[in-house]
Subunit: 372 residues, 4 copies
């Protein structure tokens, strides 16, 4: 695989001061940047392009999109890149080492497969693919070809989720009781996927990362308010071992934007509000202690003894790096160092398996569907 010497932009060469000719970049100091091609320059593609271009580990060398006006915008912002209306031309571009796929879900599988087969490392927008079968095939292909396959579960790279994971790992929360998230707002109605395959993917990927455990079964309810359109309001319960329960509420029709997760443990509890400007994660040193006494009270042979604990609330300082910047850098490092990404194909598959079970449950009157 050939590498690209960094020649990102005029910025790196110093300003083109009026009247003086440009000089070529000095190659000696250039780093071995990962040369990235972006497929899909719609809603999320520009964010990916910006982050991959600004990361110290990569540069964007090509963009493909069937819509000329989108390519024009990409070209305008990054004059040095090549643009292609046909993604196959991008895959044929020998300079492109790695491909970032930011297209509608129904195209993820075929594009990712083609990219892998073209010898490119692949980062796919979430969700990884449209079915667990497709996800498995991508995972196997990447393994066979010794290529990196990563899914953009962006939130796992945020300071907030990293801090929560660290608090769980260090035992601050104790045994976990529940994980409860609400992700609702007005809009961004999708027409090719339901709200589960859109919003819930975020929460399922965070939940998978925090709980580090797959649910035993999944129950879901929901409704498609508009005939012929996908489900836009859904509720999803995940059952785990040891009485741990998780619940997700996702809704495209809410009058206000809410992004809030409660995580209860027997030692401490967390409120994670992603809309808080500065105190996104709050750790509550409070809880309940329940014991059973053999005493014969008025209320029955065994009295429940409940005592509440309350203590300080801590909002720990969080890393402020843009999550997508960390995604870009992590992907490049995994490629360069041959490491397995935090959000590898398997992580993408685990989320899809829950989504599939949720859909079956939703279509079967909420009956819990076992996993695996």
């Amino acid at each position: 695989m050939s590498a690209i010497r960094r020649a990102r932009s005029a910025a790196a060469r110093g300003p083109r001061v009026a009247g003086r000719p440009r000089r070529p970049p000095i190659a000696a100091g250039a780093r071995d940047l990962l040369a990235v091609g972006i497929i899909g320059y719609g809603y999320w593609g520009p964010n990916l392009a910006r982050n991959f271009n600004e990361a110290p580990t990569s540069t964007v060398v090509a963009v493909s999109d069937p819509r000329p006006e989108r390519l024009a915008q990409a070209q305008g912002r990054y004059p040095a890149i090549e643009v292609y209306t046909d993604y196959q031309a991008l895959l044929a571009d020998r300079r492109v080492e790695a491909v970032v796929i930011a297209t509608p879900l129904h195209t993820h599988f075929s594009l990712a497969l083609a990219a892998l087969k073209a010898g490119k490392h692949v980062l796919v927008e979430k969700p990884l693919a449209g079915s667990s079968e497709q996800a498995v095939r991508l995972i196997e292909t990447a393994a066979d070809l010794d290529l990196v396959l990563m899914v953009d579960h962006t939130f796992l790279y945020s300071g907030a989720v990293r801090k929560i994971r660290a608090l769980v790992d260090s035992g601050h929360l104790g045994r976990l009781y529940y994980y409860d998230s609400v992700r609702v707002n007005l809009g961004m109605f999708q027409h090719d996927v339901s709200v589960l395959w859109d919003l819930a993917v975020h929460d399922l990927s965070i939940m998978d990362h925090i709980l580090q455990e797959e649910p035993r079964a999944v129950a879901a309810t929901g409704v498609a308010h508009f005939p012929g359109q996908p489900v836009n309001t859904a509720y999803l319960t995940c059952f785990f071992d040891n009485r741990l329960i998780a619940h997700l509420h996702v809704n495209w029709l809410a009058p206000v934007k809410i992004r809030r997760t409660l995580i209860g443990g027997d030692r401490q509890m967390i409120v994670y509000d992603d809309l808080e400007p500065s105190e996104k994660v709050k750790v509550y040193d409070k809880g309940v202690t329940v014991s059973t006494s053999p005493g014969e009270g008025l209320e029955g042979a065994h009295d429940l003894l409940v005592s509440y604990r309350a203590g300080d609330v801590l909002a720990p300082q969080l890393g402020v790096a843009e999550a997508l910047a960390t995604v870009a850098q992590h992907f490049a490092e995994c490629v360069r160092e041959g490491r397995r990404p935090l959000t590898d194909g398997a992580a993408g598959l685990r989320v899809i398996r829950v989504l599939e079970a949720a859909e079956r449950s939703l279509n079967d009157s909420g009956m819990a569907v076992p996993l695996g």
Copy 2:
């Protein structure tokens, strides 16, 4: 039924100025107050006593509780009342016209039945009874004896819920899409009932009042984190006709207190946050318009056309009367005027029917349970 002349307290007679003997109250101006007996003077009983005593339509004449220290507290606050360790003595007290039952749930039915049979009008704390069978029997008994039977669904008498009901009735919200409520906090763990029969009763009674429609089916999930103890975290979905969906989240183990309901309609939407000190109800003039065009876009034969509307947000002024004061007055008026209460036995029954279905679903892997 004999009436009591008001002789509530020294306050009504003017101060006992030092050195002057008290004079008897002037009977001429006294109103025909409902004489109330309170059974159960634990957590909620004192609030009921206070409100029935301060209401212009009633006075408390007796309290019963098996615990002497509770009776001492009642007597200390209301020197003029009779106190009884045995509720049957209170029911035998001929001055008592109406009985307010504020005891643990498992006693509601027998106490209410006894009270009705003793010829007393009855107000029961929520929930009305422990089963729909019991509720039906109470309703029938009250009807046979021509007595008022009312359940204390307190929130229906608050300014916030009354305003929401008025907004729905006047068509401001249009066709309803969903009703979503969260009622979580740390504590008040009950040991004789689950969180459904405790917290969810509030939301089910509000939902019943706002939607004015019974669900077709109910699905529920949840968990009892402590062995041998009732379910303390639960999620409940109600399915209605016309794609209307409702969902309740109740939890005794949350680190923060949340009391928030979202109500979505196709014209306007409401956020009802009961913890807001002054703007509990906000009406959002926003929503989504979805239409289907026959155009052949890139994405398929039928494109989804979504347009978002956004407008003003209004926090209407709410009545500030204490809800329980209105409960007390409404009950007295129904007795005096022979009216059916807003929260009559049938309202209590409707809530219980949903609770029973939810429990069956919760024990049957979340499978939706049809209602009657």
Copy 3:
């Protein structure tokens, strides 16, 4: 000084079970409770009466108020007390050991002086008196007669202010930069005093307690929006040594209620929001480090080097006792143990001196008025 055996209410004697005569209280177990008389039973008097009656260290034995309907209300709530239309009768009541004065400000001095001269210990509502001259006279009289004189600076007894004081004392905040408070709301318009002598007293007493230092000078601006009425909107700056500054904003005409204080130190900073239900005090481990370099930058001979620090935010657990309950208990303990109250006459005087300086400044175009 005679002591009163506790015979507070029927509650202490057990319930008056129907049909059985009351028995007299058993004197043996009674504690030596401070016998308190309340002068003024208007807005705040009932709160004081309740707290002094429920405190384990005192009991209310008498109330005086010129308005019969207020006395009737007191008598209704506390049947055992004596009520007087004339405060002099209360002062003549030999059972009364200590007097609590909760009347309009213009009566504080004469009532407190009379009470001291009658040999009673005195707690006066804030502010202590209408002038520093009056305050000095009260302090001297109490000292001469060896009586306790205390002013009800209630907030100093709250969990929030106690915690803030502890954080300052322990050096967590480092050197203090500023104290900034906002106390605004709609209403409680007074007509005998300005908003300074009403709302600002709270903040000045807290400030005095936290900073433990008297201002060098005071500047104030403000306005009386209604002719002939007192100033209802005011801004007050206090200048201290070492570049410490304090500022208060008080306003009776604000559409929203705000109770927020910022305290900046060179190590940590505090936000104290008294309206927060559970996290009233937040400690920010953040700040700014400013150094001066001798380097010759483009911007001048001396560059300012500013670096920002940011760390965790901590909301410490606070004591939840009602502040007024602590006031009642502290007063009784000071009387019984001959201790000097935290909010003694001198504390009351310090606040009044700032108020007087503020008024002079306000009437002199905001010109800072030196203290002392």
Copy 4:
């Protein structure tokens, strides 16, 4: 003045599809865009450049900054522009019709004057100049040369401030009582200007726009916590006719960011919180009615009759255009149409006159300084 045909970027020409040569832009459809040169590409310059480049009425053709690395960044983002280390070269560039000055305050006057003398229209970052004398000279020069002089009082072009102005103009607030703003946060410490000349400029420009009246006098207090550095915490009172008062609190050392303005009128009141994501402006239909009765109450010969009104709270929908985009477009339109900008030199001067008075007051113990 020569005009520039739009040739903004490759984007306007369509994408440079691989393998096909670029074609020149079609000149016929190009609009007559204002050709803008930016002087100063530090903190705010890039925002101005972006907005002037994306506005439908202008294009950026040149940038000057003494720092090569800043020019490199500008060039990288806008490959088509000319960059100059010397602003005089930019002023000599005949294509530049208008100049935007985004440099430190102490350079505003000389740069703006030079630009005007070079025949360029001028937009200056706030504040307009370092003294009222300088501002007057700029105003006169622009008038003499018939050039547009505008100051970037950005907030006046925001949806929130426009709505507030409209509410005041339509009489919704009635007679105004007060204007109270708080603008505090940690950081952005300036070393060439005080917090007054930095943060307070925003509030003074908004206040000037809303109240449409110049203060009679200004009083200010404040402190420079760091020796040799400018004032970083300041309080400023503006006195107007008819008992209208305004107050500003600005602080660079606050642990939290606050951007809140209260505006009280005798009909309605406004809370404007610029940090609220969606309900920045709330209109409170509440207030106080004060009348004086001649009755002889206990409290004095004239009783104050106060009644409170409370009604709905409305958060009106606001325009969502970025304020700076509107600034850019307004400036270009004023140039093209020969109109006077909303924030013309006179608006800039009015703000500076208050700042100068505030500084004098601050250095004179808070003594109010008359204006004009």
